[in-house]
Subunit: 208 residues, 2 copies
């Protein structure tokens, strides 16, 4: 695992009166990364948004990369935990697949800035080159969780998919792309859209 | 329509010996935008990559934004033209949908850098705010082209989709997300993956 970020209990220049400064910093930074991208956001911008000194920020994050990484890992961890719970709460693989998809969409709609920062905050398609081993491992675990559901459905004979990894990436593509066009004031909620996607993927667009 | 980029026939500092300097500049810039993102790429980087002076570059593009915009608009124009041709070349709406998807994937696999620059080159999820009217119009036209195919299939009774715009965005999500994980040396070609997606979308993952 990579370097842990410090969560000190006291120190000069630290925003001691805040409820949960670590969380506040991550939230403010996620909003900036989501809006302006990693390269256009400075630690000073984050400090200003939170209302602390840059020295105060350093108690929590030494570098902008460490701050970004913390947001991404938190996001991936929460997405994964939410999906695990959703899968466990449903029976049958078609329903488990739908549950995975709606859980993902619900996380996205409730934590849009963290989500967009994590998936689109880095500029450039050379994305993959910048992943830390931790992030790579967590992204892989999430894909594998989805693949496991589909695979189990195929084994049980209740899902027919010719290529499980391709199918899983297609599912994640549908879901991740929502971050680019979804608006909270739209016609459908994120979960409803995910459910509509699940329905199409399961039933197909050809008349039965 | 927005400002046209100049394509001068002569001038000092211009790379007069090149075959198609406009094209060369766009290709080099697309590679940089795709790899490093818009914010981390300077006009000087592009000039260096092409092997011209910055003054020479100015004959074609006045600003980095104009250069980026030219790449995006060329990409959207080519994607649209390719999809129109593919749709026209097939009969029946299920096949036209598949043709749209494989044409998109083929463009992406043949012009990966332009594609990644156009869809992921800008950092930040605040993406939409930066679109010029031209780009917004072209993106919309492309979505509408796809929606038209699905809509016509629904009207003909050969495609059943409860919500055409949501379905179309799901299709584009599957395809666009490929740019994030697809590798040319992988097991399947981009067109094969798109065909596999089309098959799932049409037939569904529930046993028939």
């Amino acid at each position: 695992m990579g370097m842990k970020n410090k969560k000190p209990r006291s120190g000069p220049g630290r925003p001691s009166s805040m409820e949960d400064p670590y969380r506040m910093i991550c939230d403010a930074a996620a909003a900036l990364f989501a809006e302006k991208g990693f390269d256009n956001t400075s630690l000073q911008d984050v400090a200003t948004a939170v209302g602390v000194t840059k020295a105060g920020l350093y108690h929590y994050f030494r570098t902008k990369h460490a701050l970004f990484e913390a947001i991404v890992l938190d996001t991936l961890r929460d997405l994964h935990a939410g999906a695990v719970a959703a899968i466990a709460a449903h029976d049958g693989y078609p329903d488990k697949l739908t549950a995975f998809m709606t859980a993902h969409a619900r996380y996205f709609s409730e934590h849009g800035e963290r989500y967009r920062a994590s998936f689109f905050g880095r500029g450039g398609g050379g994305e993959r080159a910048h992943l830390t081993p931790d992030e790579r491992a967590m992204r892989k675990a999430y894909v594998q969780l989805l693949e496991g559901v589909v695979e189990a459905g195929v084994d049980a004979g209740t899902i027919t998919v010719s290529d499980v990894p391709t199918f899983a990436r297609g599912v994640l593509g549908m879901l991740n792309w929502m971050a680019r066009w979804y608006r909270p004031d739209g016609r459908l909620t994120a979960a409803e859209i995910a459910e509509s996607y699940a329905q199409i993927l399961l039933a197909g667009a050809l008349p039965r």
